[in-house]
């Protein structure tokens, strides 16, 4: 009692403690608002069922490069994936065409670039631009996982993105499929490593170890698809093999195995449906969620079907 009396006589300490408790109570209100909003946003992402396929075309190709491919896939599986196309301008501005139908859990999203030239310097620029487009997409659509599909240099952009930008606890890249991606550019021998391949190998530890990777290549003759040497595609093993959860190389041959024709190849479309896209039965019966979602086991189950 004496203590309390003495305490109240000391005006300064009374004032300080008053400010302290007042501050805590006042701060409780914005804290409440913040945590509610934050948890809601996290829950939306965490419980989201959307798992888009994000695609990057090769050099000199535009965001319209996959129109036909998507159309063929839709005809084949009858699921009517929607198609959203982004074009990143050199100024950083992003132009959007198409839209994602509400309720579509597996839309295709194509990211093209105004500057779509060849060369390592340009890959680096595109990867940076892709990162800003990707950030925008994650904010808008709140998906917690996605699949990546890169044709030709598009696969290089994804690799650069994985090694230099992608670092997200809440979002996983489940699967990466590259078609005719020249990991060693036009070098036909892996003993001569380009600067790009050397950098990719140096930073390979950044590649998520739960990522499933498929590298598809075509052969017109015994050593190239007409444009990219098969050894350059195969050089992807130095980057992904042993680091990613699995790394599978598939080679197609025949008259539609030419570098650019591969996107029309029915074999490639079958492979995409089998390994890249959600399996039909699975997609309707179970809710995907981040934790029980181990891509490797998914893949094993699927092949059993």
């Amino acid at each position: 009692m004496k203590l309390i009396k003495k305490f109240f006589r000391n005006k300064k300490s009374w004032l300080l403690l008053g400010i302290f408790f007042g501050l805590i109570i006042i701060l409780a209100f914005p804290s409440y608002a913040w945590t509610q909003a934050n948890v809601k946003q996290m829950a939306t992402r965490h419980n989201s069922k959307m798992s888009p396929v994000i695609m990057i075309p090769g050099s000199s190709a535009t965001q319209d490069r996959f129109d036909e491919l998507v159309q063929k896939i839709n005809q084949a599986d009858g699921r009517k994936h929607s198609l959203l196309k982004l074009k990143v301008m050199n100024s950083g501005q992003i132009n959007v065409t198409g839209e994602i139908r509400p309720g579509d859990n597996e839309p295709f999203i194509v990211v093209g670039f105004e500057n779509n030239q060849d060369g390592y310097d340009n890959i680096k620029k595109e990867s940076k631009m892709f990162n800003s487009a990707f950030t925008q997409l994650t904010k808008k659509y709140n998906f917690n996982n996605f699949k990546a599909f890169g044709h030709s240099n598009g696969g290089l952009v994804f690799t650069d993105f994985l090694e230099n930008y992608f670092d997200n606890d809440e979002i996983t890249m489940k699967c990466l499929m590259t078609v005719g991606t020249p990991y060693n550019f036009e070098e036909s021998s892996t003993s001569r490593k380009t600067q790009m391949l050397a950098d990719f190998i140096k930073n390979r530890k950044k590649i998520p170890d739960d990522l499933v990777v498929y590298s598809l290549s075509g052969t017109q003759n015994y050593d190239s698809d007409g444009i990219v040497p098969i050894n350059s595609v195969a050089a992807g093993k130095y980057i992904y093999q042993g680091q990613a959860a699995s790394y599978t190389q598939i080679t197609v041959s025949g008259k539609m195995a030419q570098h650019s024709a591969m996107l029309d190849n029915p074999q490639i479309i079958t492979i995409m449906e089998q390994y890249l896209l959600n399996q039909k039965a699975k997609a309707t019966t179970t809710n995907r969620n981040l934790n029980d979602d181990s891509p490797t086991t998914d893949f094993n189950n699927n092949t059993g079907n």
């Binding site: 203590l3 305490f7 300064k12 300490s13 300080l16 403690l17 302290f20 501050l23 805590i24 701060l27 409780a28 914005p30 804290s31 409440y32 608002a33 913040w34 945590t35 509610q36 934050n38 948890v39 996290m42 829950a43 965490h46 419980n47 606890d169 969620n289 981040l290 934790n291």
Partner: protein
């Protein structure tokens, strides 16, 4: 009680102990400055900080990153260099205690300490690990300072009357040459030994061992043991196992969060008593040792004017869980009087909180909390705004304040006896 006071009074009489206390207190202003800078940097100016996130600092404050760097630099050069200053002061007080040249001893100690931990890394670039100079190593710095002071006692000249003549200053410098050489010689030996330790990565091995200790699934007993280890190490000034985050801890936190997000609440999360969530939510009001409670108790009840002033200044950083101003200003660091509450109070809080969680009064903490959140608000935010969590936190804080009161009384009794003895000794002379 009287006997305890007597023992503690005698302990306080030892010269080493007095030197530690004086050194710590004189560093207080710098610790305070650094703590303010650190709070402003982490809590206000960073995107993941408390004010930074709830008021979205990045949306309206231009150049907030540049501002943050400014405050970071300030805290780096105060808190980050505190141990060098500590070595200086400890040597100065030791030399003074033995009536030796205290300035020379201080400078020598600062240089010696710098030398012991100064190793250039491999390659051409000069990078020096700064962590050996920051406040976590203060104890080592004080020890080095004390030893340098003892070297000056053995080899140094007695202190002379200060006279501003060049000759005298020079003779003072030459007189100090022998102890400086001896001190630098031993510092070089330690420098080499420590260089070998780092070359063979023994230091990171030790660090990994501490980290691995917490790398196991949490149970209530394990939670309490690692919390105790953390607080005891903190009393010596070092970082304990709970200051690190390990794979298992991360997995548990993620499991909890994932469960809470899928089910819309944190009531039934799989690891309700995990070490990191209990300790960081309830065991660290005002930083390690629940020092926010000590600060409040001091402001309310201390008879000592100095302690009250120190506490008033330390209140602001303590709200944001930065506790070294109190650690150093009271001081709590290495102070046997506060060993028991400092190490056990966090455990008490965790036990009480576990009880309330077990009784289903409040849900366990599972959601993310921004860094630098005021202590009592951490459980509130971490339960997605459960009002009972706020009430429980306030209840626990008030209990802590009451529990600190007897220890403040004990300290004051010991101080009183020390003062009386000092007065008696003075009269006897």
């Amino acid at each position: 009680m009287a006997r305890l006071v007597k023992i503690l009074t005698r302990m306080k009489g030892y010269s080493f102990f007095q030197i530690i206390q004086r050194t710590l207190v004189i560093l207080f202003p710098f610790a305070l400055l650094g703590a303010f800078a650190q709070v402003i940097s982490t809590s206000f100016l960073s995107v993941g900080g408390f004010f930074g996130s709830i008021f979205e600092i990045n949306a309206w404050l231009p150049h907030y990153q540049a501002l943050r760097v400014l405050f970071d630099d300030l805290s780096q050069l105060t808190l980050g260099m505190l141990t060098i200053a500590g070595a200086f002061e400890a040597a100065k007080y030791t030399a003074k205690h033995y009536q030796k040249d205290d300035q020379m001893a201080g400078l020598t100690a600062a240089i010696c300490y710098g030398l012991i931990f100064f190793h250039r890394m491999k390659g051409n670039t000069v990078t020096i690990e700064m962590r050996y100079y920051d406040y976590h190593w203060l104890l080592v710095g004080i020890l080095v300072g004390y030893l340098v002071g003892r070297i000056f006692k053995r080899h140094g000249m007695d202190a002379q009357e200060p006279q501003p003549q060049n000759d005298l200053i020079l003779s003072r410098a030459f007189g100090a040459l022998k102890p400086i050489f001896v001190a630098v010689f031993w510092a070089l030996v330690l420098h080499a030994v420590f260089g070998l330790v780092r070359y063979y990565r023994i230091d990171s091995y030790v660090l990994n061992t501490i980290q691995n200790f917490t790398n196991q699934p949490s149970s209530f007993m394990f939670t309490m043991t690692s919390a105790l280890l953390t607080t005891v190490l903190a009393w010596f000034g070092f970082a304990g196992p709970l200051a690190f985050s390990t794979k298992v801890v991360e997995t548990e936190v993620w499991d909890n969060l994932s469960y809470a997000l899928s089910h819309g609440s944190s009531w039934k999360i799989p690891h309700p008593y995990s070490a990191s969530s209990l300790y960081h939510s309830f065991g660290t009001f005002g930083g390690t040792g629940v020092l926010l409670a000590l600060v409040i108790a001091m402001i309310v009840a201390s008879h000592s004017r100095n302690s009250r002033i120190v506490s008033q200044w330390s209140l602001f950083p303590a709200i944001f869980n930065t506790n070294f101003p109190v650690m150093i200003g009271i001081p709590v660091l290495l102070n046997p009087l506060y060993l028991i509450p400092f190490t056990l109070m966090p455990l008490f809080n965790m036990a009480v909180a576990s009880l309330f969680i077990w009784l289903k009064v409040m849900p366990p903490v599972a959601y993310p909390v921004p860094s630098g959140t005021p202590g009592p608000l951490v459980p509130f935010i971490g339960t997605n705004g459960n009002i009972m969590a706020l009430v429980v936190a306030a209840f626990i804080l008030i209990l802590d304040v009451l529990l600190y009161l007897p220890f403040i009384r004990l300290t004051e009794n010991v101080d009183q006896v020390t003062d009386q003895e000092g007065a008696l000794a003075h009269e006897a002379n």
